[in-house]
Structures are given as structure tokens and as C-alpha cells.
Amino acid sequence: MVEMPEDQDRDGLAAELALGLLDGADRAAALRLCLSDPAFARRVEQWQLRLSPMLTAVPAAEPSSRVWNAIAARIGAPVAAAPRGLRAWRAAALGAGALAASLALFVAMRPAPTVPDGSMAVSQMSGAEGGAIMAVAFDPRRGVLRFDAGSPTGTGKSPELWVIPKDGVPRSLGLIQAGSAEMPVADPMRPFLKSGATLAITMEDPATAPHQAPSAAPVMTGKISEI
């Protein structure tokens, strides 16, 4: 009580605004203060976040489908079918990636003796059924990906490797050659090999590779971590 009653007042006002108790001119004045005083705005936000967990108790309710359609129109998202295949594929790849990432990463990588940008990206890919596991390492010095196991095979199809960065758009890194433990990565693709990106393998027609987009569900996926 001895110190800074003003400060306490400010915080009280922030709490009142956060609770939504103010109305009319009082509310307008407090909202103006939010704009002119970032410290006050932060207090308001802190109060909102403090109280917000109470809202988990509010019963859920299902909105009608018009809501998403209106949102999609406002943010310029495709409302209907066009990229649905890609979306579903991406959801499958990212979902599986999250699963794979939760496995213990037991890959022991030799750190390259001299790594120009100091880090090496690794990923442990696993098959959709969780059986097959393949460790992948990117050596930025030589610009190659290395695999510790044979890549999957399929009749008439070849494994195509994709990287899916944060933007969710899969980009082809090319075909993995049968029996090869290494694969060069084109310069423009290298920056995508970063922590948090997902690697995925699909089985594709080798005659037309590399492809703009995958045509099948991934057979293996994994998240990249940098070590």
C-alpha cells in the first residue's frame, strides 16, 4: 500500500477492461489508453490470458457450415474442392511426421569436421505402419543427403523425396536412386532442410520425375532436427 498506488490503479483499470466491466465513456477511455500506452495494453492482455482458462468450462457448440465458407472467402482460401487432394496428402504427411518425431531419435551422427554453417540436419523417417525406419542426414558441406538404409521399393515406381517446410507446400528433392546411400540436393532446395520441416517419401513414376506435387500418400515421413 505504501508504494505506487497509481500503479495499482492502472492495473485495476486494466483488469476491469479485460473483464469487460466497463461501458460507454469509461470503456472508450480505457481502449484509447490501450492504443497510446503499450505497457497498459500488455497488462490488459495479461489479464485476459490469466482469466481465459476459465473459458474451457464453457460448453462447446457446433456452428453452421456457413461460418467457414465466409471465413474462407475473407482470407482468400479455396472454399471448395480444388486442392483437396493436396490438403489431405499434406495432412497425412504432417500428421505422420508428428508421430515419427515422437519416437526416440537414436541416430548418432558424426558431426562433420568442418561444417560451414555449423549445423547438420537429420531426420528419422518411419513408415506409415511404424515398421520401417530410415535415418537421413544432410551434410551441408557437401550438399548431400545420406541414408542409413535402403529406400522403399515398389513395382515400377521409384521413391521420390519431398521436403515440406513451414508453409506446408511439398517440394520435390528428386528420386532416390536404387542402392544409393547418398543423394545430392540442388542449391535452391538446401535452405528448406531446416528444423521443423518434414521429409516424406512417395512412390512415383520415375519417367516424369521430379514432380510438381505428390500423387500418392507418403510411405515414409519424418521431421528434421538440426544437431
Partner: protein, 188 residues
């Protein structure tokens, strides 16, 4: 195991938010699919009207789309952050006009007994548990006034009227209650 499931769900939501922050509408769609029922419940409770609540819900996700990159998982869980945006939008709607008659009787009565809440318990939400314990440590009138203001979107004036309590008394319950709450939560 339940905690693992909660953590997984949270991680999935954070990654969908990341995707939305990177400008991918598919990310926002995933956020929507995972959270729209929860957020619509909040809008509906505060707006008290289905159609208005759906309009508000639209604004909520357009805001989330614009602000996704400002979300910081170190500061709040994604659902806490999203719920705060939904509640704010609903309060803005209520305060944007003089809507004395918007909280339908049924809604208010259903909320009056704010006992805790099967689904929060099921979610095993730490943040909520902590807040609930702190609220329980307040005087009952203080806690009740804070809960009603927050969950029903009532103003001081409305609270005073519907509890038949002088305005000054309500204000002091809330002010003292909020100060104690902050001390109890111990986060500055």
C-alpha cells in the same frame, strides 16, 4: 496417458497455428476444425444469440489469421490465446450497441451456478486448475462477481442490477478480488 494426449493435441494445434502464421489457409482450416466448437460455445454464451455468435465467430478466425504470427506458445497455451480472442470479439459485439436485452434468461440462469465443469476436468488443464484454486480462495461474492462478469460478459451496471447490489460494493468486490487473484497466480 491423458496428459500425453493433451500435450499431443496442443502440439498439433501449435503446428497448425504455425502453418497459418506462414500464410497457409490450410493451417487456419486445421485450427478451425480443432477449435471452432469450443470458440463458438464462448461466442454463443456471451452473445446469447446464434446468428450474432456466428458472425462474431467469423471475425474471430479472420483475426486469428491476421495475428497468428503474434502467438507465442511460451506465453500462453494456444487454446487460451484463441479463447481470449473469441471472448474479446464477443464482448466487443455486446458493447458496440446498447443491447440491454441480449442475455436471454435461460442462458444467465444456466450459468449462475458456475461449479466446475466436467470438461475442464477431463482436459486435465493445469492452467484452469490453478485459476480455479485461486478463485476458490476468494470470498464467495468476489469470486462469483468475477465469474459472472467474465463468463456472461456483464458490465458493472448489469452486475449491480442483476444481483441487486450497490454499484460501489460490486466494484470493490471485483477490485479486491482481482488483486488477490493476481497475487495467488503469482505471475506479476
Amino acid at each position: 496417458m491423458r496428459e500425453t494426449a493433451v500435450a499431443d493435441e496442443r502440439a498439433r494445434l501449435v503446428s497448425a497455428m504455425d502453418l497459418a502464421a506462414a500464410g497457409d489457409p490450410a493451417g487456419l482450416r486445421r485450427v478451425y476444425d480443432m477449435t471452432c466448437a469450443k470458440l463458438f460455445g464462448i461466442c454463443l454464451r456471451i452473445c446469447g444469440d446464434r446468428e450474432a455468435a456466428e458472425d462474431v465467430l467469423q471475425d474471430v478466425y479472420v483475426k486469428v489469421w491476421r495475428r497468428a504470427s503474434a502467438f507465442d506458445p511460451a506465453k500462453a497455451s494456444p487454446i487460451t490465446w484463441l479463447a481470449a480472442i473469441a471472448r474479446n470479439a464477443a464482448i466487443d459485439w455486446r458493447r458496440s450497441d446498447r443491447r440491454f436485452d441480449t442475455a436471454p434468461e435461460g442462458v444467465v440462469e444456466a450459468i449462475a451456478d458456475e461449479s466446475p465443469l466436467a470438461d475442464a476436468v477431463i482436459e486435465g488443464d493445469d492452467e484452469h486448475r490453478r485459476l480455479r484454486l485461486c478463485l476458490e480462495g476468494l470470498q464467495p461474492q468476489q469470486a462469483q462477481a468475477i465469474r459472472r462478469a467474465f463468463l456472461e460478459g456483464l458490465t458493472y451496471q448489469e452486475l449491480a442490477e442483476c444481483t441487486d447490489t450497490p454499484l460501489g460494493t460490486i466494484k470493490s468486490w471485483i477490485r479486491r478480488g482481482m488483486q488477490k487473484l493476481k497475487d495467488c497466480l503469482g505471475d506479476g
